[in-house]
């Protein structure tokens, strides 16, 4: 009997200590929804109880039902014949069970059949589903598509699509990437033409690497403005699967075998415009991708959790030299570092989702509220949380996905030769984790997305708040280490800014983002240790490990060393 919620102390601690009251009371319209819907909460305590119970439900489905099927799904995967994708029968069963559990419209408003849960709770679900079967998260996690229609679509579109998503009848895909447009989405070419007589849009062209490209409902980024070549000529469209939308092939991938990744050909596919023309990339896709980035962070975290658990179990059971291998310092240090990295990523991820939730509620008031009810305070908070979420979302994705790769690497290492074999799950986790730091924007792009806010010190007010907490004893000492790192980080930021060398800036961006992460997570670990003394140990381990790593990056940034910039050609061409 395994329940991926009740067996995870850290996740339960996170839920118990999240302060979501502001978010929930705004989302629930001060709990007025309870009058209309019999499953809406009557107050915050009721809402929290709902979250816990539904997480237990998803934890049970993940641990009891989905996880035991994951190996077969990975080995056999979906079937493709005559341009038709058929998912593995066990994947179909997984989806059916999640549908029966009514968790396909987790964040959608109740009037469309959703649960109206915050992103934070949805993210916890994606973490657990990913721990059970990473590839299933690519289907479960497509709820962001419905979220995007909810955010930017017309009321008519919402009524047409959202109930289908919420019931799980329709699945979705986000069709962005093209053969020549990966990281550079501004260059998307898929053509959208408007028939002036009927006022109907049609799509023509190709998309590639489309996760679940066989979906019933597609959100498509397409060039609606003839003669343009940049992001401002792109709009977003909704279209449905049909004979004009051809799945040409599905990819053979290293990991996430359970989900089909498709190449699509659009032959005059009828489509509806979603939102306003020309805002497709700059507004809607950015919003869609930010949502998806949180989901991928959770996917990476779930895989890492699974990899850690199996490595931990193996290290306890495996005896060499008449000793369980977990007792050897090289092994227990690996296990401890895996555990710490997972806890750090979880702390960062759910701090991020909380900020995303705050942004969403204030943004919704500012954009959709009655004009007379929108106060300057609402606008100010919308702006503030938008800025914070814009830094934390890529920072969290960079950290969680790279972390997951490290943890899965060590997971195999702990298994030794056994881990290299297909008999154990360790190799599957390693393969599945590998995509997480690539899709929805590579780590390198996450760094680019985060660095602006780091240079502007967007997170400083949050860190000030934690730095001002009444730490004593060991925590006091540890907090001085973190304060010290932050001072150095501010120095490094200033140094890079004053250097006014854009190549150097790009070169050390990675280090500055890593350093910011060490500092910020250090504060989060301190804050959590103050809530539960059991966690002092984790704050200590995390911070003592972080300091030398931080100092290394600090030395690199402050060196001002430009020899790589000068010589890279000679170096890589030798």
């Amino acid at each position: 009997m395994s329940n991926y919620f009740t067996d995870n102390k850290d996740l339960q601690f996170t839920l118990a200590n999240l302060e979501l009251e502001e978010v929930v009371s705004l989302r629930e319209n001060n709990y007025k929804q309870a009058e209309e819907f019999d499953y809406a909460p009557e107050n915050y305590a009721d809402a929290k109880d709902n979250y816990k119970r539904v997480l237990e439900l998803v934890g049970e489905i993940s641990g009891e039902r989905i996880a035991p099927r994951a190996r077969v799904v990975d080995e056999e995967g979906p079937h493709f014949e005559n341009n038709k994708v058929t998912y593995h029968p066990l994947t179909v069963k997984n989806l059916e069970e999640l549908r029966n559990a009514e968790v396909f419209g987790v964040m959608l408003p109740r009037r469309y059949g959703g649960l109206n849960f915050p992103v934070t709770i949805y993210t916890m679900m994606t973490e657990m589903v990913s721990r059970a079967d990473a590839s299933l998260q690519n289907l479960f996690g497509l709820q962001d598509i419905a979220e995007t229609i909810n955010e930017f679509g017309t009321e008519e579109q919402k009524q047409k699509y959202l109930p289908r998503f919420a019931s799980g009848e329709a699945d979705g895909s986000m069709d962005l990437t093209e053969p020549d447009s990966g990281s550079d989405l501004q260059s998307v070419r898929l053509k959208a033409t408007l028939d002036p007589k009927t006022n109907q849009w049609y799509l023509d062209g190709m998309k590639r690497f489309i996760t679940n490209g066989c979906a019933k409902v597609h959100l498509v980024l397409a060039r609606s403005e003839e003669g343009t070549s940049d992001g401002r000529g792109l709009s977003m469209f909704i279209c449905e699967a049909g004979p004009e939308l051809v799945v040409r092939r599905i990819e053979h991938k290293l990991g996430i075998h359970g989900v089909a990744t498709a190449e699509l050909q659009y032959n005059r596919v009828p489509a509806e415009l979603c939102g306003q023309r020309k805002r497709g990339l700059i507004k809607y896709v950015m919003s869609l991708m930010n949502g998806a980035r949180v989901g991928i962070s959770a996917q990476a975290l779930g895989i890492a959790e699974a990899a850690y658990r199996e490595a931990r179990k193996y290290a306890a059971e495996r005896k060499q030299f008449k000793t369980a291998i977990e007792e050897f310092p090289p092994v227990f240090s690996m296990l401890a570092s895996m555990k710490m990295e997972i806890m750090a990523a979880r702390a960062l991820l759910y701090e991020t989702t909380k900020m995303v939730d705050l942004r969403n509620v204030y943004n919704s008031i500012v954009e959709h509220g009655k004009a007379e009810e929108v106060t300057p305070e609402h606008k100010q908070k919308d702006k503030l949380y938008t800025r914070i979420a814009a830094v934390l979302t890529p920072m969290s994705k960079a950290f969680a996905t790279e972390m997951s790769n490290r943890v899965c690497y060590q997971g195999i290492q702990i298994h030794g030769g056994t881990g290299y074999m297909k008999d154990f799950n360790a190799e599957r986790f390693y393969r599945d984790a590998r995509i997480t730091n690539i899709y929805e924007g590579t780590t390198q792009l996450q760094h680019v997305a985060a660095i602006g806010g780091i240079m502007q010190r967007v997170l400083d007010p949050l860190m000030d708040e934690i730095a001002g907490l009444p730490f004593h004893g060991k925590l006091k000492r540890l907090s001085t280490y973190v304060d010290e790192m932050r001072k150095k980080q501010q120095t490094a930021v200033q140094y890079v800014a004053e250097k006014k060398d854009s190549t150097y800036y790009d070169l050390v961006t990675k280090h500055l983002v890593d350093m910011e992460t060490y500092v910020f997570v250090g504060y989060l670990m301190l804050r959590d240790a103050l809530k539960d003394s059991e966690r002092e140990l984790f704050a200590e381990r995390y911070i003592l490990d972080a300091v030398p790593e931080f100092d290394r990056s600090y030395a690199v940034v402050m060196s001002g060393d430009v020899t790589l910039i000068d010589n890279y050609r000679e170096l890589i061409d030798y």
Binding site: Y39, N50, V54, I61, E97, E102
Partner: protein, 298 residues
């Protein structure tokens, strides 16, 4: 009016996850050491009932006999799609064996009335008797099909079901009303999110009264108002006592139970001796010699 079926369920100690001494020194089950769970095969019975609800538009009423906290197992049924729930509870029911239990449950079915189909799990994991279902059918004087895997068809008057027999299965027809005992042959659905959020608030009268007392509302009018509100919201779990189901007091509880437990033995199963044999010529020869000596080989 909708056609009606009933599912009898039971809350049982989780015998697979024993966290301490399973038996008290007096030889009764130590319930505090064993978490209470939904009897597994009752979940199969409920699943079958819910499938029949979807196929033939039945109303599904679930009932359990037990102490007040057994209401939890009824809420679990509501989370999955049951329409109505009855807790049969009364101090007079305590100490019932299978005879007294099946009598009480048959009285409950009569009180509900117009039940075309009764579903029970084959057996409960605490007693493993598999007697209660068949005895209910006997007391109601209706046919029964035991060890059912699935219902093949159902008309207004006849049910056709597939049941497991040793080495195979058989398909039986029975006139309605009838009783089925169901085995572990379907996959019980999980609860649904909306079901949980709504029906976690479903309460029995005793539970409502306790909540109201805790909140310092004790006057009769406030209690009655709350009860009416819960009924109107369909959050009401019926709480029926011996009088309500018109049970003969001499046939329920300890009084109605001829079974007397003479002695309970705590059987400790011990694993056999583990011998490790080196993968060498000498080791294998030694193993073969031993197997020949104790006549496993040769």
């Amino acid at each position: 009016m909708k056609r009606q079926l009933m599912v009898f369920v039971k809350q049982v100690p989780d015998t697979k996850n024993v966290s301490g001494e399973a038996m008290t020194p007096e030889g009764t089950v130590n319930r505090s050491a064993l978490p209470a769970i939904f009897n597994p095969e009752d979940l199969n019975a409920l699943e079958l009932g819910l499938q029949l609800k979807e196929r033939y538009n039945f109303k599904v009423t679930v009932a359990t006999m037990g102490p007040p906290n057994a209401a939890e197992v009824l809420r679990e049924c509501l989370y999955r799609g049951a329409d109505e729930a009855i807790l049969i509870t009364d101090r007079a029911f305590a100490g019932a064996d299978t005879l007294a239990t099946s009598y009480a449950l048959s009285c409950c079915a009569k009180t509900v009335g117009n039940v075309e189909l009764i579903l029970c799990g084959r057996q409960a994991i605490d007693g493993d008797t598999a007697q209660v279902g068949p005895q209910i059918a006997e007391k109601l004087n209706i046919p029964q099909i035991a060890y059912v895997e699935e219902v093949i068809s159902l008309s207004d008057k006849v049910i056709k079901a597939k049941r497991a027999i040793e080495g195979g299965y058989e398909i039986l027809e029975s006139p309605l009303p009838t009783l089925l005992t169901v085995i572990d042959a379907n996959e019980p659905r999980s609860a649904s999110a909306k079901g949980i959020m709504k029906y976690k608030k479903a309460k029995t009268r005793s539970e409502i009264h306790k909540l109201m007392r805790d909140a310092d509302y004790t006057d009769a009018q406030a209690l009655a108002d709350k009860e009416n509100e819960m009924m109107a919201k369909n959050l009401w779990i019926h709480e029926w006592d011996a009088a309500k189901i018109q049970a003969d007091v001499n046939r329920i509880g300890l009084k109605g139970s001829p079974t007397k437990v003479k002695k309970i033995e705590n059987v400790v199963l011990k694993a056999g001796k583990v011998v490790s044999i080196e993968p060498t010529e000498a080791g294998i020869n030694g193993l073969i010699r031993e197997l020949i000596e104790d006549h496993t080989l040769g």
